[in-house]
């Protein structure tokens, strides 16, 4: 890592980099634990990803197993599940991206306009409570809320809307995506809004006062003062979400899966887990995973570039 510093700046007496290295070598000690972790658990796996192009077997090891080129990828692309996996993954991520992106923004804008501060604070504190619930507990809550017998939702449907038969939310595949996305919104809206609330609070009050003097209504002030002020933040977050386009969280989907919804709930990451860990097809699973990662990364780079050109805000 040390050679990485710019070596072009050849000093008159002593190279300034060398001088800095002499004085600051001990800072590398502070970096060492984190760096070791990153190298061992992130960069060595990146090297090991070559098994996607090999026919891995444990006794020959990663570098000893025979090359098979794109065989594993071909097998995936031509497999019966390919299109359904890709479709399911994309459907879940597009749906949750579109549905869950604007809601924290709206929530923050409303909270910011709330006349009573105390009411606002309490609402906000309640709103990010679910964020700290673990995925397992969240799925447990979804299950008890939506179960056919004794589930809160079915009780309410029966008592308020006179439903005669319970709706089988959990054992019907058509509800899976809605449950997944809206439970995510329930869990994360408050938390995601914090960042917007922060940038709203940095809007100077004079702008609002000027707008009031000019006769702007509250709605107009939201539209012309508040909204533009959080737009850059929103763009950055949108880019970051795009980078996770195909990386729908494994945990929640896996936990929500059951035999009844498998046809819409089997996504790339759960498939990778099943063929990789459960049936030990290491090379094939790595190829599927790599395909997923490459698409994600490409999307991130593309969206970031587009956004940098159009709006001037980008990640790097």
């Amino acid at each position: 890592m040390k050679q990485a510093a710019p070596a072009i700046l050849v000093g008159k007496k002593q190279n300034p980099t060398v001088k800095l290295l002499k004085r600051n070598w001990d800072l590398y000690l502070l970096l060492l634990p984190a760096l070791a972790y990153i190298i061992i658990l992130h960069y060595i796996p990146l090297y090991g990803v070559q098994i996607a192009f090999r026919d891995y077997n444990p006794w020959d090891g990663i570098t000893g197993s025979p090359w098979v080129g794109l065989e594993n990828f071909k097998r995936f692309f031509s497999s019966a599940q390919f299109w359904s996996l890709l479709g399911n993954t994309m459907a879940l991520s597009v749906y949750s991206l579109i549905a869950s992106f604007p809601i924290p923004i709206i929530f923050a804008l409303l909270l910011n306009q709330c006349a009573s501060k105390k009411f606002g604070k309490v609402t906000q504190m309640i709103s990010y409570m679910p964020h700290f619930i673990s995925v397992v507990v969240l799925v447990g809550i979804i299950n008890v809320m939506f179960q056919a017998r004794g589930g809160l939702v079915n009780i309410l449907l029966a008592q308020l809307f006179g439903f005669k038969d319970p709706v089988l939310f959990l054992s019907h595949s058509k509800y899976f995506r809605h449950l997944y996305v809206w439970s995510g919104i329930w869990q994360n809206t408050g938390w995601s809004s914090i960042i917007y609330i922060a940038s709203l609070s940095s809007v100077s009050p004079e702008i609002h006062e000027a707008a009031i003097v000019d006769g702007a209504s509250k709605l107009q002030r939201i539209r012309y003062v508040d909204f533009p002020s959080i737009l850059p933040t929103a763009v950055i977050l949108f880019i970051m979400n795009m980078g996770k386009f195909l990386s729908v969280g494994f945990e929640k989907v896996y936990l929500m899966q059951n035999d009844a919804n498998l046809q819409v709930s089997e996504i790339i990451s759960t498939y990778t887990y099943k063929i990789g860990i459960l049936s030990a097809q290491y090379s094939y699973s790595s190829a599927v995973g790599l395909f997923n990662n490459v698409i994600n990364f490409t999307l991130l780079v593309v969206v970031n570039r587009i956004s940098g050109k159009i709006t001037g805000s980008s990640l790097w």
Partner: protein, 306 residues
């Protein structure tokens, strides 16, 4: 909690009719929102101490009915939960300590603009946030290290998060003045000494934030245990409760649409789910009011950069 803005001016000129309607709408929408978030949690609490028959007939919507602690008695007798609890506490404590040991010094070192290569190292780290080798290559590395089925894997994995390092770095960039470092250097203070005796005492806030982020991560973590552990005695709480909740769920779905064929044992299993949800969220629920401001602070620090 300073993020609630002073957008509403103190000397309001005159409240127009449309603004008043707007205000009322804001209250209603926010109120409904808070209700949607809080009510399911409240329902879980009341259901956990109610009579199963009363829950099923919808009599516990507002207050618990037929209050009893059978559920909790059954849970207390479930040994696996307590093993899981013990394991999770151990993993969380050790993991949080290890996290702090890795993240705080790294964040400080990377915050220094006079560290050759800091920029490149930072880029290498950020890259791993967006591109990874994937499940199996990582699994093979962990296996190669001999960590599969070792409880240590639950402590080591996840002890470095690039996001947390970025937050830490931003904190140090804006909170440790350059002059202080220069003065210390003039007095012949080494970087390590400066870090341990000057930087650390000044960074209580960021240490609290990172400790809590890490602790919640370890407490709620489920993925690593699923992948790397197969011995039940090492299972963390999350994996245990997944088994318990899923087992009772299959029971529930097998009786879907057939509400008559239900026995008392099954009923208890039903309410046990509410109880289990409560039991394993208790530490969080108790600590939440005290710690939430630190989490918000973390988002703020992280929001400044990156």
């Amino acid at each position: 909690m300073s993020q609630l803005s002073a957008a509403a001016p103190k000397n309001r000129v005159r409240v127009t009719r449309s603004d008043l309607i707007f205000d009322i709408c804001v209250y209603i929408v926010l109120g409904i929102f808070a209700l949607i978030v809080a009510y399911p949690l409240y329902f879980v609490v009341t259901a956990s101490i109610s009579d199963p028959v009363a829950i099923n007939s919808g009599q516990t919507l507002l207050l618990p009915k037929g209050i009893n602690l059978d559920t909790y008695r059954a849970i207390f007798n479930e040994k696996r939960i307590w093993t899981g609890y013990r394991n999770t506490i151990i993993y969380t404590v050790l993991g949080t300590a290890l996290s702090l040991f890795c993240k705080i010094p790294a964040g400080y070192a990377l915050s220094r603009n006079d560290l050759p290569g800091a920029g490149i190292i930072m880029k290498l780290m950020v890259f791993t946030m967006y591109f990874s080798g994937g499940l199996i290559p990582t699994y093979l590395v962990v296996k190669g290290l001999g960590l599969v089925n070792q409880p240590a894997v639950m402590v080591i994995l996840g002890c470095v998060s690039v996001y947390d390092i970025i937050i830490t770095r931003s904190f140090f960039v804006s909170n440790i003045p350059q002059e202080m470092l220069e003065a210390a250097h003039l007095d012949g203070c080494t970087n390590l000494r400066f870090f341990t005796s000057i930087v650390i005492p000044l960074s209580g806030a960021i240490i609290a934030v990172i400790a809590l982020y890490s602790a919640v991560g370890y407490w709620n973590g489920f993925f690593n245990a699923l992948i790397y552990l197969s011995k039940q005695e090492y299972f963390p709480l999350q994996l245990i409760i997944r088994d318990l909740l899923l087992v009772s769920q299959t029971m529930a779905s097998s009786t879907d649409g057939d509400p008559h064929a239900v026995q008392a044992a099954l009923r208890l299993a039903e309410t046990m789910k509410y109880g289990i949800i409560i039991v394993c969220s208790v530490p969080m629920l108790v600590l939440y009011p005290f710690i939430q401001k630190f989490f918000v602070k973390g988002v703020m620090i992280g929001g400044i950069k990156g």
